[in-house]
Amino acid sequence: MEATEEIWELRLYVAGKTAKSVMALTNLKKYCEEHLKDKYVIEVIDLLLQPQLAEGDQILAIPTLVKKVPEPIRKIIGDLSNEEKVLVGLNIRPAKK
């Protein structure tokens, strides 16, 4: 990968500690450790505590993972159980090899 200095800024929107949220966070951490070691920041936003933030990122579904940097902005919703899709969504792996 060329852009080694690039940092993946990831935001995970959750609403309380639900099973899906916990699962999503666990999955995300696992993938990041595997593929983006030391190149990622995960910010977990609990909308129950900060509901006003939902509007900014156009959050509908919970959990939603938003990748702001690097461009393009992508959103991945769900518990992130499908690793392939998450990696494609995060531009870690091209859609087709």
């Binding site: 929107y13 609403a15 899906k20 699962m23 909308l47 129950l48 509901p51 006003q52 939902a54 509007e55 156009q58 959050i59 509908l60 579904a61 919970i62 959990p63 939603t64 393009p72 902005i73 992508r74 959103k75 991945i76 919703i77 769900g78 518990d79 992130l80 159980s81 499908n82 899709k85 998450v86 494609v88 969504g89």
Partner: protein, 577 residues
């Protein structure tokens, strides 16, 4: 007139609590608005006014009922919405600053979203919840929530979440309007009506004969009585107005007061006073018989009495009518200037029939006239069938009568059906029917007017000749000569002839008088001479009689003389004379 028994126990129903939408007419149809604290679905095809309807619900809530509202747009951006409704005079920016309205644009970009595994729509709930709580909203609009289906793949989740959302909104105690696009064979494309079971309103935009009409129908309203018809509605510079323009009852009050017609002869034909206030009058006749002039005279008279009037012209422009009326000394411009008269001119093809009705309704409600004139209704037939026009007129008459407004229609009849059935066959609906017709005779056409009917008043059964000249309208008695009804110059000629006859007769009479006088004189002189004759005859008779007497006495004297002489001795001669 009160038809209710004076003492009655009215059963008071406990009705479903409702939230007024503030949209004129809709609250009447639904009997008070949409169900309070429950979701209502407004569905319809693209461009039928769903967004505007829901926006009015929010804006009226904020401005009229002091109920803050959240407008969650899934289609248009907040700024776009603000611009769209600014043209209706709503300042969303200001309302947002006042914390009365909150716009929230939910943007779903399918290409940005990847779905992996299970999720729910808590984000939407939280967003909405936050928006509601931040301004204490009582009203919510979700426009168009079906966009979720195009943005997300997992329909199962969306359906389950929508069901939960509507339940949650009910718990939140907010009155919600959800809009949905019309689908094939279903009210909405994704079957939203399945979830929103309390109230469903269907909007339609129909084009028949290239003329569009917007229609609204309350498909369903659980737990409430509602109007079930299709009601036309109008979107104009004042926003949406729905008009419950169906004839519901025949319970309007009646007036026995009269309104003069503006033609003195016509007043006389109608029992001397004119039409009833609040009645409907049809003036029908063939082309060029002066229907518009009668209407103009009526308007003029009404305005002169300080009453208000609207003139709906479907054939001529207001300027044209004013100019033409001036030629018969009816100055309508003056009344327009005083604000007593309002013209509304439109080609019938401008709108669908229903829209005309809506426009009339709206103008009548605004202007509050005492008299409405529609000139002519025949033209409406170009935009609808006979039965449609009839139903329109029924509703119009009902509406105007309930408002105690006198209405005058003019209608063109064709020469071949003068028998009485007007084209719109509304003759049974109107209270008074004046018929103006051509009387063709002696190489000229003249106008004859008669009152076909006039409910509830004595009216003349005569055909009167109707003359329009520089000084206005006038009714002349039709001349009934020995050869039948005469009009126009034939009548004038006959009248002249009659006048000559009178002079001749006068002359003849004076001749005869003199003759008699003479005869009398002759007679008198004859009598005189006879009398003279008689006198002389009498004198004659008298003369003989005296002579006889004399002779008799002389004879007597002579005889006694003789006797005495004969006795002789003691003869002393006595004088017997």
């Amino acid at each position: 007139m009160d038809l209710q028994p004076s003492e009655h126990n009215k059963f008071v129903h406990r009705t479903l609590p409702k939230t007024q939408t503030g949209i004129s007419g809709l609250d009447e149809i639904t009997g008070g608005g949409v169900p309070k604290d429950r979701p209502t679905l407004i569905c319809g095809a693209a461009g039928c006014g769903k967004t505007l309807f829901s926006m009015e619900f929010i804006v009226h809530g904020a401005m009229k009922f002091n109920e803050p509202g959240v407008f969650m747009a899934f289609e248009e951006k907040a700024e776009e919405l603000a611009i769209n409704v600014a043209s209706l005079g709503y300042d969303l920016q200001k309302l947002q600053e006042d914390k009365m309205v909150r716009l929230d644009h939910v943007h779903i970009e399918k290409s940005e979203i990847e779905e992996t595994g299970e999720y729910d729509l808590d984000g939407l709930f939280i967003r909405l919840g936050h928006a509601i709580d931040s301004i204490g909203a009582k009203r919510v609009v979700l426009d168009t929530i079906e966009n979720l289906f195009s943005g997300l793949h997992n329909e199962g989740i969306i359906r389950a979440e929508l069901r939960r959302l509507f339940g949650w909104l009910k718990e939140k105690k907010v009155t919600t309007i959800i809009t949905g696009e019309k689908g094939d064979g279903m009210l909405t494309r994704h079957g939203l009506e399945e979830y929103v079971s309390d109230c469903v309103i269907l909007l339609d935009h129909r084009v028949t004969n290239k003329i569009s009409t917007r229609l609204l129908r309350v498909v369903k309203y659980r737990g409430s009585v509602h109007g079930t018809n299709e009601y036309p509605f109008l979107i104009d510079e004042d926003g949406v107005s729905v008009l419950p323009v169906t004839s519901l009852t025949l319970h309007h009050d009646v007036s026995s007061e009269r309104i003069p017609t503006g033609v003195s002869g016509l007043d006389k034909m109608l029992g001397g006073k004119g039409f009833f206030i609040g009645s409907s009058i049809l003036v029908s006749g063939t082309a060029g018989t002066g229907k518009t002039s009668i209407a103009g005279a009526f308007v003029n008279e009404t305005c002169k009495n300080g009453q208000r009037c609207i003139y709906f012209a479907f054939e001529e422009s207001p300027q044209q009518i004013i100019r033409n009326m001036k030629s018969i000394s009816v100055d309508l411009q003056e009344h327009v200037g005083k604000g007593l008269l309002k013209f509304h001119a439109a080609r019938p093809t401008l709108n669908g029939l229903e829209m005309h009705l809506v426009v009339i309704h709206k103008m009548v409600k605004e202007f509050r006239p005492d008299v409405v004139v529609l000139d002519p209704i025949t033209n409406l037939i170009t935009v609808g069938s006979v039965s449609e026009v009839k139903s329109l007129l029924i509703r119009l008459i009902d509406f105007l009568q309930s408002e105690q407004i006198t209405v005058m229609f003019t209608a063109l009849t064709l020469n071949d059906n003068v028998t009485g059935q007007t084209d719109e066959s509304i003759s049974s609906l109107v209270d008074a029917w004046l018929m103006v017709r051509d009387i063709e005779f002696n190489g000229e056409r003249n106008r004859g007017l008669y009152v076909m009917k006039s409910r509830g008043m004595k009216h003349s059964n005569q055909v009167r000749e109707f003359v329009i000249d520089d000084s206005g309208l006038e009714l002349v008695d039709v001349y009934l000569g020995p050869d039948g009804v005469l009009t126009g110059s034939a009548r004038e000629a006959e009248q002249l002839l009659e006048k000559t006859g009178v002079v001749l007769r006068d002359h003849a009479v004076s001749l005869k008088d003199r003759e008699i006088e003479r005869k009398k004189m002759i007679l008198e002189s004859k009598i005189n001479s006879l009398k003279q004759e008689f006198d002389s005859f009498q004198d004659d008779l008298n003369k003989t009689y005296v002579e006889e007497e004399l002779r008799k006495s002389v004879l007597e004297k002579n005889r006694s003389e003789l006797t005495r002489k004969r006795d002789g001795a003691a003869g002393e001669i006595e004088d017997t004379l």
